[in-house]
Amino acid sequence: MSTSRGPRPAGRVALVTGAGGGLGRALVAALEAEGWMVAGATHRGGDFAADLADRAVAERLVERVVARFGRLDLLVPNHAAMGMAPVDAHPVEDWWRIVDTNLSGSFRLARAAAPHLLAAAGSIVFISSEWGVTGWPNASAYAASKAGLIGLTKALARELAPDVRVNVVAPGVIDTPQLQVDADAAGLPLDEMKRRYAAAAPLGRIATPDEIAATVLCLVSPAGAYYTGQVLQPNGGTTMV
């Protein structure tokens, strides 16, 4: 949380989940730099501690934020659980834990936030993934959850229009600690994993968290005012659809 500065978003309040992760920290910093008051929720503790795998948590979290700041203008469900395994070797409970944390957790946040966002003419930016667009081997739970967020975006963009805009960012590979999961699944050192991802992108590198946060910022700035139901794909050109 910080106090506001900057003219346009002054007094506007954002809730960002997964705020302790690589992208989450960049999102909080980028929004605060633009003058947003940001409630950053993490599963590790702090003012807005929240484990979104717990189904009762989303509603309480939104209530806490509104109680503290008096309003909610932007929801960025950025928390995610990641895990990789072949579909027939993936423990069923773990498969559903990933889907429920990422997709159901984001849905419950949106459902709880909707009345406040409608009152504030606010916005939702979901965080999907390039893998949600393309699918990915041995990541069926993660990819399904992230693809589901794209569907959820389009449905809510229609349902909450014209007062609330709903968009989704589907980033390519970002340089965050989460890449260790990919490296472990591939049996590669982290640096080699990063090198291979970079080589696969036409732009020849993976993204920085700041670049993805900037895409989110664009969607909630005047430049993004006519976007709703859209999938923005900062991915270095890896996927072109």
Partner: protein, 245 residues
Amino acid sequence: MNLRADPAVARGQVALVTGASSGIGRATAQRFAAAGYRVAVNYATNAAAGEALAHRIGGAAFGCDVSDPVAVERMVGAVEAVLGPIDVAVCNAGFYEERPLEEVTDELWDRTLRVLLGGCFHVARAVVPAMRARGSGSIVAVASELALIGGVNVAHYVAAKAALIGLARSLARELAPTIRVNIVAPGAVDTPLLPDRDRGPVYTSTVPLGRIGRPEEIAEAILHVAEAPWTTGALYSPNGGVVIQ
């Protein structure tokens, strides 16, 4: 090899169709049987319809709620015992209910995800080991055009169908080259799930082809992608031109 061109080739192959007691699933079971498959007709609750259809098309009926992974494993075992190894699995089971966002309860959300998405995940994890061992197999996920374009009061349904597409695309990559996985995303089709609103001229006048689809037309698409030998990870959307992208 185009199996469809020669029904004799397909004869003896086994297709499992979930949610086959009515609508698109029923038409799909009939179409596969006509193409020479022995068809496992899955139903959740309507045993009479499932049994009658299975009897009529020379298949066998299997009652099972696809949201239950243990029950699905048991069903797949039973299908293989009764009909033989499964060559094609059509993940079609679903239901459709419109509800504004604030009225989508946790129960409805979970049930939608467990049936529409879980139905395919549970079937895939049950059929994949034997398909892999035999060196071939085909899975078709039945999604919806709404997964592509969204809709009002259907956030739960659209999210589940979109997640199903993500699952199928992942499986297409993961299981290649042995098992092909494709998606059929129908538009509004004349089934018991279709709201009356979509049968009238107000809706059909917005469909470029001027009408809703017939279940048989979707069944034809499902059979085609199930058998198309160089097609995997594809999304085929018979929708009368509602989605052109």
